[in-house]
Subunit: 353 residues, 2 copies
């Protein structure tokens, strides 16, 4: 199942082992973690284990640095909301949750860069892996070299997929559903726990976030983190081999290009075909059972041109013919070969019309 689902950067199916760990927390162990009786104790113990597992995934010093929330968009809003009155800079490749905050609050958008050394900001936001083209940013190196006081790294596209080391990074946001946990749960890491709450309420999450803790979702996130640590090497090798297969097929198509500067994630392949409408290609692929994406991971229904592709300087002619193929553990080499062959076939067909 899901062999032909090549939109893993948008969301991933939940790992059946993750479902199995989560399931009892809907029915058998339904306690509210903020209650003192034995139902609550069971829920709290589950949160504690999940927090340890997530901390281990990003090599955090202590699990108390992890706060569970609804996803990385909430984390990004939370962090940058705390710096609203400060000097904030973002890279031009950021996710819409950060781009829109920048537009609303007048943050500085840095020029395109391959190696970012922003100086003199209160906080800089930078994703670890770009969601559209897969470019990897060496956030640890940037943290060490920049003079900016704080760095927020959105690891949504690398958590559970590539090693993450919290190290000297100040804030790390991520969502579970990009690495085989369910939608609706994520975490924020704080090196020094210093943010004012974004969501006010019952003082859950050690007073950091009001709202009843999503115990089953958090259990699932923890389970997915533990599995990711075990499978990291295997996942990277698997993705790289699939990407190589599709890459090879696309490279043989005339007037095609692979997009994105620098070193790229093995999980993402962004390609453009001159003279083609990406959406038409996607629809044809969809009819053949393949799921790929035309734009950003989370807003494919948007009609605006991708800000990332604009920042990369793609001309409209190339931009129009762009698709993203993103790999996951349920894809097979056979499906990747089939995809490469069918992209070639459909591109030729569309060009001949």
């Amino acid at each position: 199942m899901h062999e032909r689902y090549f939109d893993n950067a948008a969301t991933t199916p939940v790992d059946p082992r993750v479902v199995a760990e989560m399931l009892p927390y809907f029915t058998e162990f339904p306690g509210n973690a903020a209650t003192i009786h034995h139902y609550g104790q069971k829920a709290r113990a589950a949160l504690d284990l999940a927090r340890e597992r997530v901390a281990a995934l990003i090599q955090a010093e202590d699990s108390s640095q992890i706060t569970f929330l609804s996803g990385s968009s909430e984390g990004n809003n939370w962090v940058l909301g705390n710096y609203k009155d400060g000097k904030v800079a973002i890279s031009p490749y950021e996710h819409s949750s950060i781009i829109k905050l920048a537009k609303r609050d007048g943050f500085t958008v840095l020029p395109p860069f391959e190696e970012c050394l922003p100086e003199d900001f209160d906080i800089v936001a930078l994703m670890s892996v770009n969601n559209e083209v897969g470019t990897i940013f060496d956030t640890e190196l940037i943290r060490r070299r920049t003079k900016s006081r704080n760095l927020l790294v959105d690891v949504t596209q690398s958590a559970g997929k590539l090693p993450t080391i919290a190290g000297e990074i100040d804030y790390i946001s991520a969502s579970g559903h990009k690495f085989y946990a369910p939608k609706g749960v994520g975490f924020l890491y704080q090196k020094e726990v210093n943010l004012k709450p974004y969501l006010l309420g019952g003082g859950q999450e050690m007073g950091r976030r009001g709202s009843t803790a999503n115990v089953p979702g958090i259990v699932a996130l923890g389970a997915a983190a533990a599995i990711a640590i075990d499978e990291m090497e295997e996942r990277m090798a698997h993705a790289a081999s699939l990407k190589a297969i599709v890459f090879e097929a696309i490279s043989k198509i005339s007037d095609s290009q692979i997009n994105g500067p620098g070193e790229k994630s093995p999980y993402v392949l962004n390609a453009s075909f001159k003279g083609i409408h990406g959406e038409t290609l996607l629809i044809e692929l969809d009819q053949a059972g393949y799921c790929c994406s035309s734009g950003a991971a989370c807003s494919s229904t948007s009609k605006e041109p991708s800000s990332v592709l604009v920042a990369l300087g793609l001309t409209p002619e190339w931009m129009r013919g762009t698709i993203r193929v993103s790999f996951g553990k349920f894809n097979t080499p056979q499906a990747a070969e089939d995809l490469g062959r069918d992209i070639t076939r459909i591109v030729e067909k569309l060009r001949s019309l």
Copy 2:
């Protein structure tokens, strides 16, 4: 299972039928609702059905008035955040998500009231059923009579339990986990969809809330709403009969009182026993297998005195000996009888020490 779980105002076990409807959306149908291919279409169709079902639960005119989010705390933060610069009033019985916003942003806290007719505010926040003592507020009547321009009603303690009619109410917030859906999902109703987004991101939820839609959670919320409509009468009668059993037992205990003014929800019973420490009583009950609560639904780990009980004018002596028993569909008459008997036994034992 869960016969002796009497903390249903804090959270409820998920209905097994709800789990069954939700389950395929973790693994079999894992699409991101913002994507255009067939995985995304399946997810979007699921959201559409859930939106219709939730709209039906509160008798909304149109499903487009419903926005899915992480829970009622987020909804409350969202609405009142939009009125931060206006004149805002809240009742003194509100949930911590509203009380804390009031403290931070300097909202007016109205005096205690049984019938609220606030005048001359941009928005008034009022819960439909108080989470601690169960008092029912006739929010429809209040909406018709007040001169305040907008009314936010937090129906967290009545959604799926008592009939809700959106009618002339401007905003309605609720969480799924109080009526047999999972934690981490809720909704906000807007009569006129006019709020600026609280969570910025990929423009999901018709541009109202950034963050990948929690498809399985929303499917579950919709399923729980549909079941609630069917079972509403039965649930109310069941809760009322259980409450009567425990009420009768407690009424026979000397120096005891039932707290809360006015008409009260059949799902909540709040009682005080003079000379007893409520927490000690709860621990003894817990050891006998019962879950009850000492304070508010969502923050029982808090050590602050309940603002609701303070507003009701309870003296410290009575306040100290307070417990909340909250009923749900998994409780049985036998368990209610046992609870009444064991509360009596334990109160007598504690008083004799």
